[in-house]
Symmetry: C2
Subunit: 465 residues, 2 copies
């Protein structure tokens, strides 16, 4: 509108109407001018949209440059595989089957090394087994006469495809071999059916298998050696970051509630810190996917072979269990009934203390995972937290409600009660971390000086939430 | 062990040891016998494992026969497409490109119609645009001399693949076009690179495009006309079922707490009904995926074109918001400190009443979605619920804690407080349902008599949780 006015450059009358509202009257313009103005406006809208998109894309790349690198890696892998077409001896070796190498690179190359290995290994095994099985079927069909041949081929495809598709609904198979089953059906159908028309089937199958293998090999090469993104490291980082966020938001929420007089501050948005727990609530899908992919990865960095990745999922569950209560606590804290300052003061110090204790326990656990060492102080911190719970219980007993009704102290008591529940659930997190420490044989912190630098070596990943 | 004994048939001595434990001594057996026994045991383990798997697979199929049907549908689609190879005129028309039809069917056929349409439309558009673009590049490369030709081809593949891969990280593109971008990169790379060796590139591209189209067409045909599974109906059902579950478990939890004397019942596992809310907590991934697929579906059943599917996601979020509090409530209820029966009795009726009110509101909302009619009673029910909240507030004011410390009534007060918070969040669910009713123009219940049968027409889907 502002643009339109400045472009039209016409006069503008403003009439004040008794009710207090004002109406702007604009000079009438010719259809041509209107059209021109419309075009200008359209161009402006487009420009702002494009620049908005540009900004968004820029931020996406700046926040996690690994995404840009991933794009370049895919380009590199494809450029490598296209050498097959340009180099005469290579192309002559595999002929038209070279396209399978290109296809393999496009569909197998994933963001994480684990994703690549999962797809590559699935594809390799599925191609091999389905190809062998299909050649067997082809052999039988070939011997059974012209009438039965198509029937045997189609019936075998129908039955195998049906059974294999159904097997994808079995959870363990779905998690580990979903992609492999697609490729199994694909390869089996192609080989079994096209055997009807193609003469040199075995040669063809051999060529395809070798080109698929070459495609997989190029993917693995680029994924592992050019700026690898390990699903395992990402999972490790996601869990520790979320644990820190949970600790921060627990402390932040309680601080927000007690530190200022609630009534005046209420209209303000809750601090960003205190809302960080929401990341934990929605992390299940990422955790599950990363944990499943991590299992395909070879030892890397500080993670040995058979690192107990699924234990990270348990820690995630324990954290979520805790975050549910933090969520409820936030709800109670923002209740409409303001608690009198006098009553609040009575519990303020112990509640802040307890939330800080819980937060310390969580941060200590998170540091223990980060450094992959058993914490020397966790037992002490948990004991301190439990003492805090005990003291809060005691203080609740002595709480002077004066003349106030229970109604007014309700949010306070609910918050205190939830805080006690949260402390219990924080212990659940500690237990889960302890199980990880046992399963991954974390060193004792006493055995050697904790190396502070080790914590820093993990590359920062933004936007993981 | 039992098997081993019965097979060996030998005597068995049992020596009672002073400490009270007893040790079984088994007769020594020959290596041959040992080997045989080992085999028998192995066979038994195998048999039990296989029968366990068989049972699981059977249950999977029995719980949701649509999964079995899906397997058969994939088989059918593949059998249909394999006709291409057997029918001379069809095969001659497309030649070796017939394999693309098979490939398309295998990768495009998804469980839901929405999934099929999403992949099919993505594949079709991506193949077309990438093919056209690649032929343009091929034309330029062809004219630019022997030295530059491979460079132009590879550089274009590198740049396009990098950019397209990076664009997959943009959330909106990821949700709508993820599969399309894979196919875009695949087709572009194949056509642009293989143009170096293949002479009749345009003819080849045409053949591939038409076979891909045939594959997509067969998929759509089978998906839509043979026992279709609509993502939209599933989402509709998932949301209403979860709402019922939430209502049940809210009522169940409060009932469990108040109905019996807590101390004696505590050791028992919480009733299954009261744990149903856990489905709601973990439903986010399913809801999001179903909602995204639903948007690709044509009008079906009672769902018109542009049915507001994303509003279901908002309802899901509101329900989860409510479920967090139910989770915290369950935690508080199972607290270690038993509340004296006398105090509990004072709030028992009103708490049970309020939880039943909340549950009624949720069930009424769920029925409103099921029948796709605005509820005539929802305002009244919400008012009743709010009256319940008010009364609970009042009763808390009058609560006689006698000589007891606040510590002992803590779980009770926390539960009451959470119940109040839950009532607030149930209103959030009602608001979300109301928005859906507006967006989907639900009829007023008053306009016509609600048809009870309509509610039943939705097929039951088990294991949706």
């Amino acid at each position: 509108m502002a643009t339109e006015r400045s472009v039209s450059g016409g006069l503008e009358w403003r009439v004040t109407i008794p009710e207090g509202s004002s109406v702007g009257l604009e000079p009438e313009s010719s259809p041509l001018r209107k059209g021109w103005l419309g075009l200008v406006e359209l161009a402006n809208t487009m420009r702002s949209k494009v620049s908005g998109l540009g900004n968004m894309v820029w931020r996406l790349g700046a926040d996690d440059p690994r995404k840009v690198v991933h794009g370049l890696k895919v380009g590199l892998a494809l450029a490598l595989v296209s050498l097959f077409y340009y180099t005469r001896p290579l192309y002559d070796g595999v002929g038209g089957a070279a396209m399978w190498a290109v296809m393999t690179v496009v569909v197998v190359f994933e963001f994480t090394v684990g994703g690549c290995l999962y797809k590559g290994i699935n594809r390799g095994i599925a191609t091999l087994t389905a190809g062998a099985l299909a050649i067997g079927v082809h052999w039988i069909a070939n011997k059974s006469g012209e009438t039965f041949e198509p029937i045997i081929r189609s019936a075998s495809v129908f039955m195998l495809a049906s059974a294999a598709t159904f097997s994808r609904f079995i959870p363990t198979i779905k998690i580990k071999f979903d992609y492999g089953i697609t490729i199994f059906i694909l390869t089996f159908s192609l080989v079994a059916v096209s055997g009807y028309r193609v003469d040199k089937l075995i040669e063809l199958a051999e060529q395809r298998l070798s080109t698929v293998a070459i495609g997989i090999f190029i993917c693995f090469l680029v994924a592992i050696f050019a700026f690898p993104v390990w699903a395992g490291s990402d999972l490790h980082l996601l869990i520790t970051r979320n644990m820190d966020k949970l600790a921060d938001s627990l402390e932040g929420s309680v601080d927000d509630y007690f530190s200022n007089d609630q009534t005046s501050e209420k209209e303000e948005a809750p601090s960003k810190k205190s809302q960080a727990y929401k990341c934990v609530l929605n992390a299940k899908a990422s955790e599950d996917s990363l944990a499943n992919l991590s299992k395909w990865e070879p030892p890397h960095g500080r993670f040995s072979f058979r690192h107990p990745w699924s234990q990270y999922q348990n820690i995630g569950t324990a954290m979520r269990y805790c975050a549910y209560c933090v969520e409820a606590l936030n709800g109670c804290i923002n209740s409409e009934i303001p608690t009198p300052e006098f009553t609040k003061k009575q519990l303020s110090d112990i509640c802040i203390q307890l939330s800080s204790d819980c937060s310390k326990v969580l941060k200590d656990s998170s540091n223990s995972i980060k450094s992959m060492q058993r914490s020397g102080s966790i037992d002490f911190l948990v004991e301190e937290m439990n003492n805090g719970v005990q003291e809060l219980h005691d203080r609740l007993t002595e709480l002077q409600t004066d003349d106030m009704s229970l109604r007014e102290v309700l949010p306070l008591i609910a918050a205190a009660s939830l805080l006690i529940e949260i402390a219990k659930r924080v212990e659940g997190v500690v237990d889960a971390v302890d199980k990880l420490a046992t399963a991954a044989s974390f060193k004792n912190a006493n055995d050697e000086k904790p190396e502070k630098t080790e914590v820093v070596t993990v590359e920062p990943v933004k936007e993981l939430c």
